[in-house]
């Protein structure tokens, strides 16, 4: 089989995969529910993109084509954006030394008579398709900021292709045992490097936010954004650092046909050069390719089991035989205590990074809540509401130490001799306790930071576990009714977006019903007080307790619903 034959066979394989992806998407639309989910997902995506292009916030006050900025500043902004994206892509390369090949292709392609260069060309071809898809978002985001959007679109897409190839070159170098860098990194878990760099950047940003009340404290009192950009655009160091991105930036901001054609030719030339350089310089990457592909397959497998990104990464990267933390039987030795203990073991062994991110998010909610003004009671209540509301939504979505990560074990779970509602309760309990702990720390941190205390803090803190339990149990009940295995970026993304939207609406609706009933009870009590001309202070002091009891009752109802959903769960059903 000749070389040219190989590569076109591989390109055909990529085309067949894309076609299969679309076919799967359309097959999901055969049922009425599939049609509804698909349509909703499509509307949500196009609506979002349309809002970016035609919405009221378009341009965002940073118009690269006007706004009185000099050409140098405009160029700097484009290059800075591309540099930031490039940096993130290079960080991503740490997670994928060598070449990534999907599980279904890994052994077949590595054992086939195909040269490494052709394998790299094939993956670059696939990467290009994915970049083009994600490029649509960038194009929509910057459409109104471009001097000539029709020309600029090409610039953005070609720049994204170039960055993708550069990131691939970097990952190949990291996995190339013919090079010192590859030999140095062989066998090292590089995902942690990228993760650590990301964490440092996050910590620095939050540190700046917390320490500085105004940007003036960072840049000086007489600072101005325009002056800052102007100074950066004139700095020789900045110019030299961003120079490799200049040809792409020139195409992004091209205004005339002449400029467009000139820079398009230059960019295409650079791309072809990079493409071939990347393919020909691959070297010996088989070992790294196997390690990377198997690790990513493991991670995708973990995500299909319901774990979110970081938890899945932790599971994939864990070394066999590594020490495990032991835990005492905190919930007792009974049947429910045993289940809660097992869930807690999962949290302590695989959730460090997820919990850390959870802390950061709660920290951000705390920072946002510092802006809340008013008397002490208002501040305590509103900040608790904000931290609990935002925190619960985010943490419950990302920390999935409940039924959402137990899909593969449902057959065993359903055979246990435990009534389903109790089993449901014991399974979600540790997750609820973890989220509650993070939120309580957040509320107390805010209170201490502002030094604003009020007795209303006590019922607020009591309401947190009740609310978190209600939300997590509702989340799980809905999940058990409509289970789904999904990995972002995999088949059925549009369908899944629609489904997620509908299920979110369903959850919010059920929670609103519970809230509405509670509000009715409280209003009725006020009505009775007024009719009987009683002191309304009694009712006011009773409101938090009514809320507490009401939310607990809602949680109990959701637990019964979850138990029923668990009983109804059909393990024979194909879930995708």
């Amino acid at each position: 089989m000749g070389r040219s034959h190989d590569i076109f066979t591989l390109f055909r394989l990529a085309r067949l995969h894309w076609r299969a992806g679309f076919r799967k998407q359309f097959r999901r639309m055969r049922s009425p529910s599939g049609c509804l989910f698909g349509l909703l997902g499509f509307l949500l995506i196009t609506g979002w993109l349309g809002l970016m292009v035609f919405g009221p916030g378009r341009g965002g006050g940073m118009d690269w084509g006007d706004g009185g900025q000099s050409e140098e500043v405009r160029m700097l902004l484009v290059q800075a954006f591309l540099a930031a994206f490039g940096f993130l892509s290079l960080m991503g390369a740490f997670n994928a030394k060598g070449l990534y090949l999907p599980k279904s292709e890994l052994h077949a392609l590595l054992s086939a008579p195909i040269s490494t260069s052709d394998l790299v060309r094939y993956r670059l071809f696939v990467d290009g398709g994915k970049t083009a898809l994600s490029g649509v978002i960038f194009v929509a985001l910057f459409w109104n900021r471009l001097p000539s959007p029709g020309y600029g679109v090409f610039g953005i897409l070609l720049a994204l292709f170039a960055i993708t190839i550069l990131a691939r070159m970097f990952s190949l170098a990291l996995g190339n045992t013919n090079l010192w860098i590859g030999r140095f990194f062989v066998g090292r878990a590089l995902g942690r490097v990228g993760f650590s760099v990301g964490m440092v950047i996050w910590a620095a940003m939050i540190g700046l936010l917390v320490m500085a009340d105004t940007p003036g404290e960072i840049f000086g009192d007489d600072w101005s954004m325009d002056e800052l950009f102007q100074a950066a655009s004139e700095s020789p160091a900045v110019i030299a650092l961003l120079a490799p991105l200049r040809p792409f930036a020139e195409l992004v901001v091209a205004e005339t046909t002449g400029q467009f054609l000139t820079w398009l030719a230059v960019n295409v030339g650079v791309l072809v050069l990079l493409f071939e350089l990347c393919a020909r310089s691959a070297g010996e990457i088989r070992e790294a390719t196997l390690t990377t592909s198997e690790a990513l397959a493991k991670r995708i497998g973990a995500m299909r089991k319901g774990h979110t990104g970081l938890a899945a990464m932790g599971r994939a990267e864990r070394k066999a035989g590594a020490r495990v933390r032991r835990l005492p039987r905190l919930f007792g030795y009974g049947r429910l205590g045993t289940i809660a203990w097992a869930q807690l073991l999962g949290i302590t062994r695989f959730s460090l990074a997820t919990t850390l991110i959870g802390f950061i998010v709660v920290g951000l909610a705390v920072v946002m809540s510092l802006e809340i003004d008013g008397d002490a009671k208002e501040q305590v209540m509103m900040s608790s509401l904000m931290i609990t509301g935002l925190g619960t939504m985010y943490l419950a979505a990302t920390m999935r130490f409940d039924f959402r990560s137990s899909l593969s074990r449902m057959e065993s779970i359903k055979s246990w001799p435990i009534p389903s509602a109790r089993l449901f309760f014991a399974t979600v309990l540790p997750q609820v306790l973890l989220v509650t702990a993070l939120l309580v720390v957040g509320v107390l941190t805010r209170t201490l930071a502002k030094g604003v205390f009020h007795p209303a803090l006590v019922p607020c803190l009591l309401l947190i576990p009740a609310f978190v339990y209600a939300w997590v149990s509702l989340d799980n009940a809905v999940f058990l009714l409509f289970p789904v295995k999904f990995v972002p970026g995999q088949d059925g993304a549009v369908h899944h977006i629609g489904r997620s939207l509908l299920l979110l609406v369903l959850r919010l609706f059920l929670l609103s019903v519970a809230g509405g009933v509670l509000a009715l009870i409280i209003f009725a009590m006020y009505g009775v007080t007024e009719a009987l001309e009683m002191d309304s202070g009694v009712i006011e002091s009773a409101v938090p307790w009514i809320l507490f009891a009401g939310i607990l009752f809602a949680g109990w109802c959701f637990t019964l619903a979850g138990g029923a959903a668990l009983r109804r769960f059909d393990v024979s059903r194909q879930i995708s």
């Binding site: 066999a320 049947r335 999962g346 065993s412």
Partner: protein, 254 residues
């Protein structure tokens, strides 16, 4: 054995998945100490039947009694007396091998599990893996762990779906010995497998199902004496005749 009160009794079990009839009016009993070999072609309804008996799928129609407890009216009592070894065990990825046994003992209310666990770990060759997480176990090790988890509950009724998948020859020998021993202690066992040799070796009685219906039920001797065994009486021949595959395979052979 035949006169003993059955530990497992299935009567007129029927199960549908939408328009598909997976199990059709299936009835059988398993006495204490008896091993029932459940065989049938792919899609015959074996796993669906076992899952329904294990309480994993709800009983749509029919009656199931486990150790005298009705699965519909007393599901927890029935499940407590029953252990299930699935064809592809999925252990909890976060728990070590020993913690799996502790967990199972906790869920089934088994006291003094620790000494039983050490014996099981040794018998199923899991001692070296005692601290390994579920996610680190090979296919064979997962299967051995599933055996140990089932055994630690001291089941009266044991359901096993392709229990020897993934086991090495030593593991197969140990598993067969353990199955015989637990039956000798009085457990009623339903063993579903495509390995007809295993069924011939272990099963006291045979239940062949096809398209959800029982097409033969009886001892191996009864099967050999029946008109299913014209060609010398191997279980393979009996199976092929019972399921009608022999006619398709070799029309001349009758």
């Amino acid at each position: 054995m035949e006169t003993a009160t059955p530990l497992l009794s299935v009567r007129n079990l029927t199960r549908r998945f939408d328009a598909v009839l997976a199990v059709d009016d299936l009835s059988f009993e398993v006495a204490p100490g008896e091993i029932l070999g459940l065989v049938g072609p792919n899609g015959a309804g074996k796993t669906t039947s076992l899952r329904t008996i294990a309480g994993i799928l709800p009983v749509q129609s029919g009656e199931i009694s486990v150790a005298g407890r009705d699965l519909k009216s007393d599901p927890m009592g029935a499940k407590s007396a029953l252990a299930w070894v699935p064809d592809d065990p999925q252990p909890d990825e976060s728990l070590t091998v020993l913690e799996h046994l502790e967990f199972t003992a906790g869920v089934y209310g088994v006291r003094d599990w620790s000494s039983v666990a050490s014996g099981l770990l040794e018998r199923f060759d899991l001692t070296a893996k005692v601290d390994a997480l579920g996610s680190e176990l090979s296919r064979g090790m997962r299967q051995k762990l599933a055996f140990a988890q089932a055994w630690i509950t001291g089941p009266q009724v044991l359901l096993m779906d392709e229990p020897l998948s993934g086991l090495d020859p030593l593991g197969i020998r140990a598993a067969k010995k353990e199955i015989r021993e637990i039956a000798a202690r009085g457990a009623a066992i339903v063993l579903s497998s495509h390995l007809l040799k295993l069924i011939e070796e272990l099963a006291d009685r045979l239940l062949i199902i096809d398209s959800g219906r029982a097409v033969f039920s009886g001892t191996l001797e009864e099967a050999r004496e029946s008109d299913l065994a014209e060609r010398g009486g191997s279980l393979e021949e009996i199976f092929l005749r019972a399921t009608g595959a022999m006619d398709q395979d070799d029309p001349a052979g009758g």
